[in-house]
């Protein structure tokens, strides 16, 4: 009995230590298989559906390159790339100057796609699209507007019979770029928000429930009647959630989609700073969706392992060309042409 146990244990141990990817088992039959390169990245949940698709496609194209991306929130992406525990980070809130100072190697920002934060809600019985003024959104998240049939909301939605129910606010419980985009916008249009709460990847929310990741917030909104929260556009679409129009600086109620998000980036792309850190919330332009944002990959400027460096830089090039052709299927907007050109030049900065 003992011998059987020890033989089985030994065999299991051998099997697991040499275990590779189950779906790539054909590799092991080749004489000299290409070296498996695993690159670890972590960060924003905002672009996660896109990155997940990209890395999957890239792995299909180059089976020996595995890019493992974990969506733990932009705050996590920033922290882990600063600690050096991942090979690259991702964030929709650009790193602040202080954070950049903390980095041991310089961190470069590479925009990948354009996306939007939408106000998703779940009101049983209401199927119409709601209009939200910027003041209304700030007031809801400040806890000043407490019920769905508040006069401010009724004013913007005269034809909808809003129920007399308490609004359940849902926000992020983790450090989030999606949050950053949202509160960046709220700080711009509401002085009260700016002074009371401020903007960062993690804030002291006046009211609401906390969900982990865009996924957690979407999950909570779906499960909780009379709730409202902010999620990235694709999460609302993939989960068939209702989301409202927001009034932009030109006074128009705009729904988030490819056109309105692209319009939001139009002005900024002409004046893109060298390090690509820019905010495009509340941008001018009649058709711009006011809560749009770039999202960035955070790449160290110096990568020790030459194979990893090549894999990453190759991926960046692929992302800027083939990758961009996939983004619209997932409701993200393509990068403006000028930005792509700038980035292709900037890839050389990765040593």
């Amino acid at each position: 009995m003992k011998r059987v146990v020890s033989i089985v244990a030994f065999a299991l141990g051998l099997a697991f230590t040499s275990c590779g990817s189950p779906t790539a088992s054909s590799d092991s039959t080749k004489a000299a298989p290409a070296r498996q390169i695993l690159i670890n990245g972590a960060g924003a949940t905002f672009p996660y559906p896109m990155y997940s698709k990209w890395f999957d496609e890239y792995h299909r194209k180059f089976p020996n390159i595995q890019i493992n991306y974990q969506s733990i929130g932009s705050g996590g992406g920033i922290r882990q790339i600063l600690e050096g525990t991942v090979d690259f980070g991702a964030s929709d809130g650009p790193m602040t100057d202080e954070q950049l100072k903390q980095a041991k190697t310089k961190i470069l920002h590479f925009p990948t796609v354009l996306g939007a934060d939408v106000a998703a809600y779940n009101i049983p019985g209401i199927t119409e699209e709601l209009n939200f003024t910027s003041d209304a959104l700030a007031a809801i998240f400040l806890g000043k507007i407490k019920k769905w049939n508040d006069p401010e909301l009724k004013k913007a939605n005269p034809s909808v019979s809003l129920p007399d129910k308490d609004i359940v606010v849902v926000h992020r419980s983790d450090g989030s770029g999606t949050t950053y985009v949202w509160v960046d916008y709220l700080s711009k249009i509401s002085p009260e928000w700016k002074s009371k709460v401020g903007m960062s990847t993690s804030v002291n929310w006046p009211v609401g429930l906390g969900g982990k990741g865009n996924e957690g917030v979407a999950g909570l909104i779906k499960q909780t009647p009379d709730s409202i929260g902010y999620v990235e556009l694709i999460y609302a679409i993939q989960n068939k959630m209702s989301y409202g129009k927001v009034r932009n600086s030109a006074g128009k109620f705009v729904k988030a989609d490819l056109m309105s998000v692209t319009a939001a980036a139009a002005g900024a792309s002409k004046q893109m700073p060298e390090d690509f850190r820019v905010s495009i919330t509340d941008s001018t332009g009649p058709d711009a969706y006011p809560i749009s944002s770039f999202t960035w990959l955070l790449i160290p400027s110096k990568i020790e392992d030459p194979m990893k460096k090549k894999a990453l830089t190759d991926f960046l090039e692929w992302m800027l060309t083939d990758g961009q052709s996939m983004v619209e299927a997932l409701s993200y907007a393509k990068l403006p042409a000028e930005v792509v050109v700038m980035e292709q030049k900037a890839i050389a900065q990765v040593q």
């Binding site: 972590a42 733990i72 929130g73 932009s74 705050g75 996590g76 920033i78 922290r79 882990q80 600063l82 954070q99 308490d166 359940v168 419980s173 983790d174 450090g175 709460v197 401020g198 903007m199 960062s200 990847t201 993690s202 804030v203 002291n204 929310w205 609401g208 429930l209 906390g210 969900g211 982990k212 909570l220 499960q223 909780t224 709730s227």
Partner: protein, 325 residues
């Protein structure tokens, strides 16, 4: 034969060599087991050291006021532990309020009323509950308990007990009540199995004396057996409490993740373990990380204290009665 003490010098004869090896064998065995046992002390000391060292920033900045402040503001870098201590204590207290009567009742049934084979069988099943992982409790709670609480139980509570500050305000499903309920279910098996053992250990003479004096079985159980085992039962409650305090996953999935202090049980809250789980990998500044680690240290200290009390109490009972092995 030389009577020199065993040394590495070559001995004179094969028998002497054998004796030496035998003697060294005992010492070696003692040494090996001692080393491994001491590894435990090393690891624990290292744990304390790491926790202490990494929380230095906030300990120096806030001192003891860390435990009293209610603001948790990562932007302004103001950190206070009170909302989390509140959430942890409230959910654990709720778990005890729901779990102890239920658990004690079941334990009394199993120890006093049920025939031995039924008692053993049921006890075995209940102990299996203790093996269910926390994340599975959380998974079930999200899809069964939350809708139940939100749509059925909360309205009833609000209409009957709404005059109390605990049952006011909107109910989201997730919140302190949900977390407390899940915790109650999770600690049930601990309370039941330990209380049952403790009750079974009460000497038969006590029961027989009570019955001889004319008491009914129920009176015997409630007035004689349970009080006799009181210390052990309270010990089991403390053990269950220690378990509830440290519970992470099931709580973070249903507590609502809002660091505020609210009298209402329907409101969302936050516990120490839950905030660490949610925010640790993303704390973007050193002082933020330090605050989270200090929270971990606080939790650890609380569980140490509770565990210590529990052990003393259980020890007291099992010594008192004629022991069970």
């Amino acid at each position: 034969m030389t009577t020199a003490s065993p040394t590495i010098d070559r001995p004179a004869s094969p028998q002497h060599k054998f004796v030496q090896r035998l003697l060294r064998g005992d010492q070696i065995a003692h040494l090996i087991t001692l080393i491994f046992a001491s590894a435990i002390i090393l690891v624990t000391a290292l744990l304390f050291f790491e926790l202490f060292r990494s929380s230095a920033l906030t300990r120096q900045k806030f001192g003891f006021s860390f435990l009293m402040t209610t603001t948790w503001d990562p932007v302004a870098l103001e950190f206070g532990a009170l909302p989390f201590i509140y959430g942890t204590l409230v959910t654990s207290a709720l778990a005890l309020i729901i779990g102890v009567p239920l658990g004690l009742g079941a334990a009394v049934f199993l120890a006093e009323l049920a025939p031995p084979r039924v008692s053993d069988g049921l006890a075995f099943l209940i102990e299996l509950l203790a093996a269910v992982p926390s994340v599975i409790y959380g998974l079930l709670a999200i899809f069964t308990l939350i809708p139940l609480l939100r749509d059925y139980i909360a309205p009833v509570l609000r209409s009957t007990l709404g005059f109390l500050p605990f049952f006011r305000g909107p109910s989201y499903g997730v919140g302190l009540l949900a977390a407390g309920t899940v915790l109650a279910i999770m600690i049930l098996p601990f309370i039941i199995s330990i209380s049952r053992e403790v009750l079974l250990a009460v000497p038969r003479e006590q029961r027989e004396a009570s019955l001889a004096l004319g008491a009914t079985r129920w009176e015997t159980a409630s007035h004689v057996v349970v009080p006799y085992a009181k210390a052990g039962i309270i010990g089991s409650i403390f053990l269950a409490l220690a378990r509830a305090l440290g519970e992470t996953m099931a709580v973070t999935m249903v507590i609502g993740n809002d660091p505020k202090i609210n009298a209402s049980l329907f409101a969302p809250g936050y516990s120490i373990a839950a905030v660490i789980a949610n925010e640790f990998s993303e704390a973007t500044s050193d002082i933020y990380i330090s605050a989270l680690i200090e929270l971990g240290l606080v939790l650890f200290c609380i569980t140490i204290a509770v565990n210590a009390i529990a052990r003393l109490l259980i020890l007291a009972t099992t010594r008192k009665s004629t022991a069970h092995s």
